[in-house]
Amino acid sequence: MRGTYLGELEELVLLSVAALVDSAYAVAVRAEIEGRANRKVNISAIHASLYRLEDKGFLDSHMGEATNKRGGKSKRIFTVTTYGYKTLKEAQTVRQSFWGSIPQLSAQK
């Protein structure tokens, strides 16, 4: 699994990009994570993760629209690649298999 390993924040970022479908850029991703996971993450950390995930091939990107609010600067819109989806799925499967083998009792406790 070396090379496809996902850090915890990276996984959250990747999931957010997937959830945001075609409107995922750094500020939106940050808001998504804050909204769903209730975690405040500095924008620079989001940047670092996004670009790194792109370098690893999990994400693709293209330039999006520019708004006044952004001082006329374009957004970089990220999308999840097929490889990215596959990796996310694998991560989910791994977790699922762990959940499957945990006895109900202790889970209900």
């Binding site: 750094a26 500020v27 924008i43 940047h47 670092a48 670009y51 600067k73 374009s74 957004k75 970089r76």
Partner: protein, 871 residues
């Protein structure tokens, strides 16, 4: 109202840290967040948060930068590859270029090693800043006043008592070569000196054995050097053992052993004994006789000049009012003794004494040789760079900016200087031993490894690389890429700078060579000048108390040998400054007291040395008064002085050395002879025979078989004196030694001047070959049109002839002026012949011509079809 904006410093910081490629999107994100927060949380918090975000973004410094860096690395690799390709492509020029610089660097490095050694003399004494040697200025009558390194026995102790700022003293009183007996075996200890008990406290000569404070408790305590101890005692522990000194016949006890005195100490000794043994009432009051050195230790921050000013009082207090007419005292700082004593005479304990001015000459030469080499390097680099126009054209076309090209050429130049440095270190390694032999030093390269020196060497190398690279780099980076790609190289006007450098280089080389030749000739002249006595074929042997008793037997035995012409004896060796004494003679109106140099000689001395007698007669064994010490022979200079006060003949004037009322007579006047260095004037001198014992015997050999003569002497000597090993010296060797410092100087300078002209010629050779190459096509056309080989060689060599001529015109008058001043310092100077200038001028022109024509001849011989084909 103005809309609030994010803080500009934060934005600038962000721009600085974030890669350009993603700056806009990242800044957009931050800006968007700022606007969001502006609505939700207000201006201050929004600005603060923005700053925080920007700060945190520093961590993304590396994002998207990697690819750019990767590109640069390839570029640098390419630079390096091209640099080495160029190096190998023109192997010959690269060699000339780097080797020339390496030669210059090597000579510079070696000279610095030597200079460092000279400045480091006596540097190992921790108290050196507080130690001084006590010297005198003596003025006796008409003898010019002279600085002498001698002082009087009572001076040291009394100075310490009288002046609290002088904390310690030691005398240094040589005993010379002494025979020591251990049981039945005898050994010569070359150099025993008498010192005071404080000697090892003031000077840091390392003790190997013995306790510093207990070395000289008893008058008969002796401290030996390690090698002397090994010679006498072998592997035994010498401490506590006894020896018998013949001559004085003292029994001494060894109390310590010191490490052999290092070569860079001006005091050299094999054994030390305390002055206590000789310390009696007479000596303690022995004001007036100078026979030893005194060293003083001052306390910190003493005003030396103020202290020296008090010395006049000191002399008057101990020696009376009149003393100031004859004596003056001064202090010489210990670190100054080695290099600053050239004007001090009777300086017998100053090992390898050297002139500071010579050290400065060395330094200057080192600088100039390095300069010539660096100019060379620069010239050749520029010339070679000119052939790389296409490369620069290509680089510029694909986007290289001016600074990058400059950087590339600078880096290349620095790289090559460091390669040259490696070569230079190799050359030093090879040349060190021969150099050590020439200058009689023990230099070691380990000095280069001292961190500070290493840094200086590396920094200088770097600087040379930078300075000599900067011109070609600027020229090259200024190329118009279109022209450069078309293949037209440098425009003509730019080579003026290079020509000026060639002239400069050659001017320096010519000046150095003329200077060297003149200095060498001056030295030769002095050594071969008629000294006024015959110094050849004379063997000298030291005499001692026991051998003096049998002098007459020795003399008659020696005279019986077939290979020996004559035998005489003296109290002072010729080829030195001679001791001075007071004298008395009867003038016309009164008895006159004065002083003069004086040497006691055997009655046949003047015949032996074939001296010219101008008036009267020389000493002779046929006159009883000559044998009894009543007759005196004076030299011309003294005769002149006496003549001014007596009416009539000097010969016949009642005369004697001081301290007596019954005078003898002057029987003859001898022509002035140069007993001392020829840079010095002949002083007044008189000679007579006295029954005081001789300090050396002189033997004149028949020319032809010198070895047979020496064998004869040895045989007689060992038969008469079985206890004394036979040792001798040739007088002309001794006289040669007086000029040793000058000889070493001229030898090293000769080597340097040869190097200078070689390096300059190397540069010219390289430059010529490039110029010639640039004009290949022109020459091809000329040949096609009917020019002959000699015409083409002429055309190509003309320019360089002109350069050398200009260089000569600059160098010659300058050298003349400088050398004229230098010659003025010698009493007998050879004079500056214009012939030398002519010879050196023509010589250097010929060298330049040969260098250049070697290149141009090749072109002239080449087939025009080949040269014209090149496109």
């Amino acid at each position: 109202m103005k809309t609030p904006v994010p803080p500009s410093y934060a934005r600038r910081m962000l721009k600085w840290f974030i890669a350009d490629s993603i700056y806009h999107e990242v800044e957009g994100d931050l800006q968007e967040l700022f606007e969001d927060r502006l609505e939700a949380e207000g201006v201050r918090r929004a600005r603060w948060q923005y700053t925080k975000d920007a700060l945190f973004s520093i961590r993304n410094f590396k994002l998207r930068r990697i690819r750019n860096n990767f590109n640069h690395l390839v570029m640098y690799k390419n630079y390096l590859k091209i640099a080495f390709r160029n190096l190998l492509k023109h192997k010959g020029y690269s060699f000339i270029n780097i080797f020339g610089l390496a030669l210059g660097m090597a000579s510079c490095l070696l000279i610095l090693l030597f200079v460092n050694n000279e400045f480091d003399f006596d540097g190992f004494h921790k108290k050196k800043a507080n130690l001084y040697r006590l010297d005198e200025v003596q003025t006796f009558g008409s003898v010019s006043s002279q600085k002498v390194a001698l002082s009087m026995y009572p001076m040291g102790p009394n100075l310490v008592t009288d002046y609290p700022e002088i904390t310690n003293f030691t005398r240094y009183w040589t005993m010379g070569k002494t025979l020591a007996r251990k049981e039945d075996k005898q050994y010569y200890i070359d150099n025993i000196s008498r010192v005071d008990t404080s000697f090892f406290e003031m000077f840091d000569f390392k003790l190997v054995d013995g306790i510093k404070s207990d070395l000289f408790n008893e008058p008969s305590d002796l401290v030996l050097s390690q090698s002397t101890a090994r010679m006498i005692f072998g592997d035994e522990n010498p401490v506590g053992k006894t020896l018998r000194m013949t001559g004085n016949d003292i029994q001494v006890t060894v109390t310590g052993v010191f490490e052999d005195v290092p070569d860079h100490s001006h005091l050299q000794f094999d054994a030390l004994i305390s002055t206590k043994f000789w310390d009696d009432e007479n000596r303690r009051n022995g004001w007036g006789s100078n026979y030893l050195n005194t060293y003083l230790e001052l306390s910190n921050n003493v005003d030396v000049e103020a202290l020296e000013a008090k010395f006049d009082d000191f002399l008057v207090r101990h020696m009376g009012d009149e003393v100031l007419d004859y004596y003056e005292l001064f202090l010489q700082p210990l670190p100054d003794v080695h290099l600053g004593s050239m004007d001090i005479t009777h300086d017998y304990n100053n090992h390898k004494k050297f002139a500071r001015s010579s050290v400065n000459i060395f330094l200057m030469l080192a600088f100039f040789v390095l300069l010539i080499a660096s100019i060379n390097f620069m010239n050749l680099s520029t010339a070679r760079a000119a052939t790389r126009g296409r490369e620069i054209g290509v680089r510029k076309s694909i986007g290289a900016i001016k600074e990058q090209i400059t950087g590339q050429f600078l880096a290349e130049s620095i790289l090559f200087t460091f390669i040259a440095l490696l070569f230079a270190v190799g050359l030093c390694f090879l040349a060190l031993q021969p150099l050590n032999n020439i200058i009689d030093r023990e230099l070691s390269m380990s000095l280069y490894l001292v961190p500070l020196n290493l840094i200086v060497i590396l920094a200088t190398t770097m600087l040379i690389g930078l300075l000599s690279g900067v011109y070609p780099a600027l020229v090259m980076s200024g190329f118009n890429p279109v022209l450069a790609l078309k293949g037209s190289g440098l425009s003509g006007s730019k080579s003026i700078f290079r020509n000026v450098l060639v002239i400069f280089q050659y001017a320096i080389a010519i000046a150095i060579i003329i200077g060297t030749i003149l200095a060498t000739r001056q030295l030769d002249y002095m050594q071969n000048l008629d000294l006024g006595f015959e110094k050849d074929l004379v063997v000298t042997m030291d005499m001692y108390g026991d051998t003096n008793e049998k002098y007459d037997v020795l003399r008659s035995e020696l005279m019986n040998q077939s290979n020996i012409l004559d035998v005489t004896a003296t109290t002072q060796k010729l080829g030195n400054n001679l001791h001075q004494t007071s004298m008395t003679y009867d003038g016309d109106t009164a008895r006159i007291n004065g002083s003069s140099s004086f040497v006691v000689v055997d009655v046949n001395f003047m015949d032996f040395y074939e001296m010219d007698i101008l008036e009267g007669r020389g000493l002779s064994k046929d006159y009883a008064e000559d044998n009894n010490g009543r007759s005196f022979v004076v030299n011309q200079t003294l005769a002149k002085e006496i003549a001014s006060t007596v009416n009539g003949d000097v010969v016949g004037t009642p005369f004697h050395f001081g301290g007596t009322d019954t005078l003898g007579t002057i029987v003859g006047v001898v022509k002035d002879f140069n007993y001392n260095k020829l840079s010095l004037r002949v002083e007044p001198l008189f000679m007579s025979r006295q029954p005081w014992g001789w300090s050396e015997v002189n033997v004149k050999l028949k020319s032809g078989d010198l070895q047979a003569g020496l064998r004869d002497i040895e045989q007689v000597w060992t038969t008469l004196f079985p206890q004394r090993p036979f040792e001798y010296q040739f007088l002309d060797d001794h006289i040669g030694e007086m000029y040793q410092s000058e000889q070493q100087l001229t030898k090293v300078i000769s080597i340097l001047s040869v190097l200078a002209i070689i390096i300059a010629s190397l540069g010219l050779f390289g430059l010529a070959s490039f110029t010639v190459r640039q004009r290949l096509k022109e020459m091809g056309i000329r040949k096609v049109l009917g020019a002959t080989v000699s015409q083409i060689v002429m055309i190509l060599s003309k320019k360089f002839t002109l350069l050398v001529l200009i260089a000569f015109a600059i160098a010659a008058p300058l050298t003349y002026y400088l050398m004229d001043e230098w010659m003025a310092g010698y009493a007998y100077s050879v004079g500056i012949g214009l012939g030398i200038f002519l010879i050196v001028g023509i010589g250097s022109w010929l060298i330049a011509l040969i260098t250049v024509s070697a290149q141009s001849f090749r072109v002239a011989k080449s087939n025009p079809v080949e040269t014209l084909r090149i496109e």
